[in-house]
Amino acid sequence: MIRKFRDAATGLGVAGAILLPMAAWAADEKPGLDTGDTAWMLTSTALVLMMTIPGLALFYGGMVRKKNVLATVMQSFAVTCLVTVLWMAITYSLAFTSGSSVVGGMSRVFLAGMGLDSVHDLAKTIPESVFMCFQMTFAIITPALIAGAFAERMKFSAMMWFMGLWAVVVYAPIAHWVWGGGFLGDWGVLDFAGGTVVHINAGVAGLVCALVLGKRKGFGADNMAPHNLVYSVIGASLLWVGWFGFNAGSAAGASVNAGMAMAITQIAAAAAALAWMFAEWISRGKPSVLGIVSGAVAGLVAITPASGFVNPTGALAIGLIAGLICFWGATGLKHAMGYDDSLDAFGVHGLGGFAGAILTGVFTVEAIGGTGKKGLIDGNPGQVLTQLWGCLVCIAWCAVATFVILKVVDVVIGLRVTTEEEVEGLDINLHGETVH
């Protein structure tokens, strides 16, 4: 993404020269700011926020049992608020200001010094306030995704502590490594919109949560069927639409790259949805509603890192492959290994993110990605290894740090609700409310 921003900035210079006769009209604008870019990034920011609330809240909320619906949507909503305040206070500064190659500096703590005129180096044609908000929505959805792994059994207080610590200790540095001027960006790891930073990160943290918290009571024996899949269909659809902001917004402007990213995103989502649906139809006899929407999300996850670098054929391939891999992850691997990743945060986001990161190394073409960005099919097999290293570094830090945070929270306040509360339901016990 960093290089993408630089390319966009160069492109703007050319456009500026062409528009020179209109300089009087643009006199009120700050130097370098572009109203078209700014408008698209304002829109993208709103779209990505919509992915978490209500998109993810409904996607997850529909998949749990009726006694835990409110607790589940509450997690998405509370994380949105918590991460926003933390982002303003410290995490934006740690992720996106210059510091070391490992973590950013403290110059934007409490957004100190961010005024009307501020512009971030990574997006010079939009106000820094918009860049900060756009990145904030990514920082919000990433921890919110983890909640799918520990649904229906975690204390709300423990969840708040875990999410807050995780946003600072895990998300901020990894965002810095890949996008904010850290070492993974310098290595040449390609992650256009957050396959590694968002999806591998959330998926791996989810797996660690599922393992540390243990299975829900009655897992494998009781009926844990989703209480209302229509919520999940609405949620997945909002995620899909919001993803145009996520991927096309990561072009950092209303550019040719944004247009192509949108096309590629749509193709991969549809291909993965069909792949999952047909795989399920063939292997289990029926094409399920939960299956097709899960497949669409898997495709969106997998295309995320690739969305600025591959062509439509590459997107089709990535979608089909990711749909099959995530189908296996959520229906085969999970049951074979016996962990209770309740809503498949790892099966869809972890595996889909990993597949997408590696396949970005395969299908990146210079014609789309820009100068010097080539994958295996464009004669640069080394990119696959670069992608693999990037993934492994993130997985290692995320897994270790997530484990430590969980253990600390467990010792101090305890992670799980009591068995009685779990059986009775989290809605009434944690929040004093029930759904319809």
Partner: protein, 110 residues
């Protein structure tokens, strides 16, 4: 009294068949249970859940003994699909029937 348990979507057909015999009232309950049809299996992302009890409707209709055979016949025809899970009909006696409003009893109360 005739009590019948059958598939919910056949309720209107059964009602029509019974009213055609001149029967003036019946009681309907939504019930769940299992018989030879057993349950169904739901699958969500590979997790299979057996649905042990299927929804059925139960009707209870109290009628003159002379009408029982014709009523049973009508219910069988109206509720049947020739598939497993069509349900069952039970017939048993009633000691007394009283209409609350007038105090009439016996056949007059039906």
């Amino acid at each position: 009294m005739v009590m019948a348990i059958f598939k919910p979507f056949k309720l209107d057909d059964v009602r029509d068949a019974l009213t055609a015999l001149g029967i003036q009232g019946l009681t309907v309950s939504e019930v769940r249970g299992f018989g030879r049809q057993k349950g169904q299996t739901e699958i969500y992302r590979g997790a299979e859940y057996a649905v042990s009890f299927l929804p059925k409707v139960k009707i209870e209709v109290v009628i003159d003994d002379g009408l029982v055979d014709r009523a049973v016949d009508a219910i069988r025809k109206a509720a049947g699909t020739d598939k497993i899970g069509d349900g069952k009909i039970f017939v048993h006696g009633i000691e007394q029937a009283i209409r609350i409003r007038t105090g009439e009893s016996g056949l007059d109360a039906l």
